[in-house]
């Protein structure tokens, strides 16, 4: 891969992250409802002064506070939660990140495989029955908020049929005879939210992939390949798919930012103890440090995912390395 391409993409990602940190700082310090007001609401003046000094808020916003903030952020110190007194935001985030990673990592994988396959097939057999039905379903799914999918699954499979538990990640207060029992309990809690995430994403990915393969099929090299007398299956596998996959992969990475909105609501519906429920809890108790931490964590993850997609793209497609 060209060194300049690599350097440019890296630089872009670093600048974006710098912007994110700056934005995070500005949101919290310069707006009304600033930490000084939030911390020191309804306190006597002298107590307030002590608090301000304790948190360094009596110093000028720029450069003192800004430098202190950036320094702390770079060391992974995101402050303390308002709600869980005395617990650092980093610890709160660390506890909640695993459930989200499991749920969305698995959901993404399932959705990418099924969604891309479905989209590729629909685009290939454009106008056929699978395309017709699949595209219709994808459009409806695309218009449906994730949490609605979740509520439907919940009422059918949990409320109605009683196959799965309604909420949480493990049975409350349960003791397990063995690791397998615990795993089974975990999986039965995971089943519905995971299905929700996968269904929600499949609609999006299949629409992306369908458009991409239809565009590819219009290219001259596909006509050439067919003219050479290659079988349809061969043309699809060796000529159309590899080229159609590229834009689809990038779009999957770009979409990550939107997926997070869905993530938050799905976790809420199923009481899944991940970053999504944490965000809503923090929102309702106005726990700004945690909200900021969530924002920082999620936006940097998205930037890194985009960077990874750019680099993979550069590796696979020589044309973009300039």
């Amino acid at each position: 891969m060209g060194g300049r391409y690599l350097a440019r993409k890296l630089l872009q990602a670093i600048i974006t992250i710098a912007f994110i940190i700056l934005l995070n700082f500005l949101l919290f310090r310069l707006m009304p409802g600033s930490p000084d007001r939030v911390l020191a609401r309804n306190l006597p003046l002298d107590v307030r002064q002590v608090l301000l000094e304790r948190w360094g808020l009596d110093r000028p916003v720029f450069p003192d506070q800004f430098v202190a903030y950036v320094g702390a952020t770079l060391q992974g110190d995101l402050g303390e939660s308002f709600k869980f007194q005395g617990v650092s935001v980093t610890d709160v985030l660390a506890e909640r990140i695993w459930p989200t990673l499991v749920l969305f990592g698995l959901g993404e994988m399932i959705a990418i495989v099924i969604g891309l396959a479905l989209g590729a097939y629909s685009g290939w057999k454009r106008g056929g029955p699978v395309d017709y039905v699949g595209n219709g379903i994808s459009l409806v799914l695309y218009s449906m908020p994730y949490f609605v999918i979740g509520m439907i699954l919940l009422i059918v499979f949990s409320g109605g049929l009683g196959w799965f538990p309604t909420s949480g990640m493990l049975e409350m207060g349960a003791t397990y005879g063995s690791f397998v029992d615990q795993l089974l309990d975990f999986l039965s809690h995971l089943a519905l939210p995971l299905t929700t995430v996968a269904i929600g994403l499949i609609g999006q990915y299949s629409i992306l992939m369908r458009a991409s393969i239809i565009e590819t099929l219009g290219e001259d090299y596909i006509t050439t390949a067919r003219a050479k007398g290659l079988t349809e299956g061969y043309v699809l596998r060796r000529h159309a798919l590899p080229n159609a996959m590229l834009p689809a992969v990038t779009l999957v990475a770009i979409n990550l930012g939107y997926v997070i909105a869905g993530a938050i609501t799905v976790e809420l519906v199923f009481g899944w103890p991940g970053l999504g429920t944490l965000t809503v809890e923090a929102l309702n108790s106005r726990d700004y440090p945690v909200l900021q931490g969530v924002f920082l964590l999620l936006s940097i993850s998205v930037v890194l995912a985009n960077l990874a997609a750019d680099l993979v793209y550069g590796l696979l497609d020589p044309r973009v390395r300039t």
Binding site: V140, M144, V148
Partner: protein, 316 residues
């Protein structure tokens, strides 16, 4: 304007005739697409619901004027059942149409105004201005804007006070409009800029510049009219996104309980545990409305895009 008189009729009249013809042409191409017609029909129905909810189902029911008992299943009187406070779901849902559509519309306007201004200025002025504006745009494109909206909303709400009325709109709803607008204009700006870049190179822009037209004048009278096709299609698609975002924001608790949108009803259903209780009627009607409206806007927007901008195939 002292244009040389062409052929017989006066130019204004001819221009008018030309407009009528192109409008008819457009309507014809639009009407030939079944998806567009279905989408438009759905939207007309919802616009009627939004305009005259009280004529259809009476005034909005509140906790004190609730007409039924808690969580009744659908029957002859309450066609769609009642919520946990005994309010008629049909009544709530139809009144929710107005809130959801209005928030969607206002948020779309804010989005389009910001996005179009950024796009036209960046595309026409170019140079360092373009570079800076596009850097900001890219930043907002990468950002998980929904999370940003979640943080911004309570901050703005604390700032203006949650009981305030802004332009006659309750604070919660106003904040939703602003937050959606501020976080979702970036893709519009990108699309408009690319078109503005190509319009800038056209001959009539040079002519306008040579006869001394100011930048502002050229952007308003020459660039803007030539990107209008893109704006129209983009507006409709943005509307779909705005309705979805509003629903999601209200669902996580940023709605207004006194002016319930569809998302707010869904939030109430979720927090009372309706799915676990089997009370499907509590959330199915507002959810169906959201899906119908978003689907309709997506269909109409897609069709408009194809008809108005046949060559500029937009990657969403």
């Amino acid at each position: 304007m002292t244009a040389a008189s062409v052929s017989s009729a006066d130019p204004r009249r001819q221009r008018f005739r030309l407009r009528i013809r192109s409008a008819r042409d457009f309507a014809g191409r639009f009407a030939r697409r079944p998806d567009a017609v279905i989408g438009l029909a759905i939207l007309v129905v919802f616009c009627i619901l939004a305009l005259i909810p009280s004529l259809l189902v009476g005034p909005l029911e509140t906790a004190t004027t609730a007409s039924g008992s808690a969580l009744q299943a659908p029957d002859a009187i309450h066609v769609l059942g009642t919520d946990d406070l005994g309010r008629d779901i049909l009544n709530l849902t139809i009144h929710g149409t107005r809130i959801s559509m209005m928030i969607g519309l206002l948020a779309t306007l804010v989005t389009i105004v910001i996005g179009t201004s950024f796009g036209i200025i960046a595309g026409y002025v170019g140079g360092a201005v373009d570079a800076i504006l596009m850097r900001i745009t890219d930043f907002f494109l990468v950002l998980p804007t929904f999370v940003l909206a979640l943080i911004l909303a309570p901050i703005v709400l604390d700032l203006i006070g949650s009981d305030a009325l802004v332009f006659g709109i309750r604070a919660n709803l106003f904040v939703t409009v602003i937050v959606i607008g501020v976080t979702s204009w970036a893709s519009t700006a990108r699309i408009i800029r690319s078109q503005a870049l190509s319009v800038r190179e056209r001959m009539f822009v040079d002519r306008a510049r040579v006869i001394g037209g100011s930048r502002l004048h050229i952007m308003r009278r020459h660039i803007l009219p030539n990107v209008v096709n893109l704006i129209v299609a983009n507006t409709v698609l943005t509307f779909a996104g705005a309705v979805l975002t509003e629903t999601t924001l209200a669902f996580v608790g940023l709605g207004d309980p006194f002016d319930p949108s569809w998302g707010q009803i869904l939030n109430a259903a979720e927090s009372r545990g309706a799915p676990g209780l089997g009370a499907w009627w509590f959330f199915a009607p507002p959810a169906a409305c959201v899906v119908f409206v978003v689907l309709a806007f997506t269909l109409v927007g897609g069709a408009l895009d194809d008809v108005l901008n046949p060559r500029a195939r937009l990657r969403r």
